[in-house]
């Protein structure tokens, strides 16, 4: 996927002016937050579970090599195959090779952000393999030729009427009098179309929420059951997963599952939790003939041992973006790459390079709400600050900003001059405010006064007033 993060400011402006988008985002602003809050309130031990989940992931990441090897061993034992992909390109190539071996024409797909990360759909299309998204949200945005704007709710930027129009346009056999008023009717319409596709597909590709080292099992959670059909009906099942998805045991998985759905959608559990361990065995009634796991690194192993290692704990629940005021304002597309919101502002620079994604860790008020709801207790603001440090060190931050900062710091380190500096600033502000008590245009801070007034200062700075008072109070 092409990186549009350098145009973040432009994207954000367009998003703010987009009425449809703003209407759609109001759901994120309220529904997701309420549902999570209720789910968390109803489970007394939620925070203890969080601590356990964090401990499990920390341990796994410390011994990542060991658990990955163990996972591979188990997959092989069960007759599956593991493909190690160092880069996005490797992963795309491996998927295509598997498809080509059976001259696959169509591929059904469960929801997978890794697929977005490696740009799989576009790649398959140019290689004459048709990918069909089967998650309703993904299906809709595939019709529209868009990318997901949220990691768990890919079409959250759309309103019902937009989706209805898309269906009318693309489902040409749809009778005109067929009502699509209710969300359920849209779902049924998509299901009807997808049934055919499921049956005709040669390969099914899913993501993975967890890879269990102990058993060589991949786990997905969905609410529509599309993942099950994607992986059991075609001849080949490919699991596309990044390396940090591995956890040691089944027990560990079930611990983390308890915080995942609650944090994501406020459900106790997602509707379907599907475990796949290898291809169909002799007496299995159904299942794929071949089971492949493509294990993607794509920059993750270089986060190990750095200040960004904690990010590898992320379980992609989406809570951080659901609670982010910036995401609420501009939605997911403005971020310009696969992963939006706070988790993306930390992860994208690691995967796509800070030189391409410099805005992302800066476009945060550091309000800290993301960290406070993250089930994995990932210190997102702290890591965004680390990216800002890297940018500062590499001289990537804008020159004017660096100059102002340098000047300000010079004063801040010298109390005497700082007093002078604040007196002069105070004088200037007083002049600009005049008698009105507020300033409606402030040079150098046009961004502020374009949208709001700046209060005028009181007659003296605190330090002046304090010193006056101290002299006055002094016994003569």
């Amino acid at each position: 996927m092409e990186i549009k993060s350098p145009q973040f400011k432009k994207n954000a402006k367009a998003a703010l002016a987009d009425e449809q988008l703003q209407k759609a985002l109001s759901h994120v602003r309220s529904k997701f937050i309420e549902k999570r809050a209720t789910a968390v309130r109803e489970l007394d031990c939620f925070n203890e579970l969080r601590d356990n989940a964090v401990a499990i992931k920390k341990h796994t990441i410390k011994h990542l090599d060991l658990y990955l090897e163990r996972f591979e061993e188990k997959v092989l034992e069960q007759g599956g195959q593991v493909h190690w992909a160092a880069t996005a390109r490797d992963a795309r190539g491996q998927v295509l090779d598997i498809c080509r071996k059976i001259a696959a024409k169509t591929v059904t797909k469960g929801k997978s952000m890794i697929s977005e990360e490696i740009g799989l759909n576009e790649f398959l299309e140019v290689n004459d393999v048709t990918p069909i998204e089967t998650d309703l949200g993904e299906y809709i945005i595939q019709l529209r030729g868009e990318h997901p704007s949220h990691i768990i709710a890919p079409a959250v930027h759309l309103n019902m009427d937009q989706i209805r129009e898309d269906f009318r346009e693309h489902h040409t056999e749809l009778p005109e009098d067929r009502s699509l008023e209710e969300p359920i009717s849209l779902l049924q319409e998509a299901r009807g179309i997808l049934r055919e596709k499921f049956l005709g597909a040669d390969v099914g590709i899913t993501g993975a929420n967890f890879l269990i080292a102990e058993t060589g099992t991949s786990v997905i959670v969905t609410n529509e059951g599309n993942g099950d059909l994607t992986q059991t009906l075609p001849r080949i099942h490919i699991v596309l997963a990044s390396i940090e998805k591995v956890v040691p045991t089944l027990e560990d998985t079930s611990q983390i599952l308890r915080v995942l759905a609650r944090s994501a959608t406020g459900q106790e559990m997602s509707v379907y939790t599907t475990l796949s361990s290898g291809p169909k065995r002799g007496d299995d009634p159904d299942g794929p003939d071949e089971f492949h796991v493509v294990l993607l690194d794509n920059g993750r192993s270089s986060m190990l041992g750095t200040e960004f290692e904690d990010m590898l704990r992320c379980i992609r629940c989406g809570a951080c973006m659901n609670h982010c005021p910036v995401y609420h304002a501009v939605g997911g597309h403005a971020y310009g790459w696969v992963y939006p919101g706070p988790m993306g502002s930390v992860l994208s620079p690691s995967l796509a390079g800070i030189e391409n994604t410099g805005h992302l860790p800066n476009a945060s008020t550091f309000c800290g709400r993301c960290e406070s709801v993250c089930p994995m207790r990932i210190p997102l603001p702290k890591m965004m600050r680390h990216w800002r440090e890297r940018e500062f060190e590499l001289h990537l931050s804008p020159a004017s900003q660096r100059r102002n900062l340098k000047l300000w710091a010079w004063f801040a380190k010298r109390p005497k001059y700082y007093r002078l500096f604040s007196r002069l600033s105070h004088l200037a502000l007083k002049m600009l405010a005049g008698k009105s008590g507020r300033i409606s245009f402030l040079p150098l801070a046009g961004g502020w006064t374009r949208f709001r007034d700046m209060p005028g200062p009181e007659p003296k700075t605190f330090m002046q007033a304090w010193q006056d008072r101290s002299t006055r109070d002094q016994p003569q």
């Binding site: 400011k9 954000a12 402006k13 703010l16 602003r29 005021p325 910036v326 609420h328 304002a329 501009v330 800066n362 476009a363 945060s364 008020t365 550091f366 309000c367 800290g368 709400r369 960290e371 600050r385 800002r388 440090e389 940018e391 500062f392 931050s397 900003q401 900062l405 340098k406 300000w408 710091a409 004063f411 801040a412 380190k413 010298r414 109390p415 700082y418 604040s422 600033s425 105070h426 502000l429 008590g437 507020r438 409606s440 046009g446 961004g447 502020w448 374009r450 949208f451 709001r452 007034d453 700046m454 209060p455 200062p457 009181e458 003296k460 700075t461 605190f462 330090m463 007033a465 304090w466």
Partner: protein, 263 residues
């Protein structure tokens, strides 16, 4: 740490209070003195260093932090009328010195003595009741750093509710950011504006006549937006109301007639 009966408290004024609204500083001093503290204002203080810290400039942050610690560490407590600055001193300073054991220890000892004003009054000085009266309908915005870094939420509310005549009208989403974010509001003005618009909408629908918060940055942002929208709401720092010092015109206003005087 056992509490001295009449602790020596250093006021960390904060840049914004120094520059824009000294009344908040004087209100803070009054509250601390009424609670039995001996208050001092070290005059060589400048800034907590947050602008450098959040811009990724570790070196300057460190130098500023060293000066702050040297200036303030001899006091029993350091109190700031800001959750954001107190959060910087308390939660971030130890991290600024990561890798330097000697300074880290100093920063940790210093950090234990730092408090935000309402937190200090309520939790350390055990102030639960204030004597003055004030007939007004107040809504309180939880500033992010105070709320999430320091866990401040009930302290200002308990103190406000103890004032005879005060009614608290909670706004929707009082815990949501106002969009200030330090340099964020000038780097990404359109986004900041959209966030503060949501905030002012919630403030207006609370039905309150007065908006209070514990951080001048947020207050200037919100007051500036409310004024631009033509609102008549009165905006003040919580310290002014707690201290009963509401003679100064509200933030972004010249109208000296205030709710405090029985509007």
């Amino acid at each position: 740490m056992s509490k001295p009966s009449s602790p020596r408290v250093a006021l960390f004024v904060t840049c914004l209070v120094d520059l824009f609204r000294p009344s908040v500083g004087f209100a803070t001093i009054k509250l601390l003195e009424d609670a039995g503290c001996k208050v001092d204002v070290p005059i060589s203080q400048t800034c907590c260093g947050q602008p450098a810290w959040n811009s990724g400039d570790r070196e300057n942050t460190r130098k500023i932090a060293e000066t702050v610690i040297q200036t303030f560490e001899s006091y029993d407590y350091i109190v700031a009328p800001s959750g954001s600055c107190a959060g910087m001193l308390k939660m971030h300073y130890p991290e600024v010195f990561a890798g330097d054991a000697k300074w880290m220890e100093r920063a940790n000892l210093f950090s234990e003595k730092v408090f935000e004003l309402t937190e200090f009054l309520h939790d350390v000085m055990n102030v639960k009741k204030l004597k003055q009266k004030l007939n007004s309908n107040i809504t309180y915005h939880d500033s992010c750093a105070g709320l999430r870094e320091l866990g401040i939420s009930k302290q200002p509310r308990t103190l406000l509710k103890s004032i005879k005549g005060v009614k608290l009208a909670e706004m929707k989403d009082s815990e949501t950011c106002c969009g200030f974010g330090g340099t964020f509001c000038v780097k990404y003005p359109e986004i900041s504006n959209s966030i503060v618009e949501t905030k002012t909408e919630n403030i207006e629908s609370s039905g309150a006549d007065v908006l209070l918060a514990g951080d001048l940055g947020c207050l200037m942002n919100i007051a500036g937006k409310l004024k631009r929208q033509g609102s008549t709401l009165e905006v003040r720092h919580v310290a002014e109301v707690l201290a009963g010092m509401t003679d100064t015109a509200p933030i972004c206003d010249t109208n000296k007639k205030t709710v405090a005087k029985g509007r």
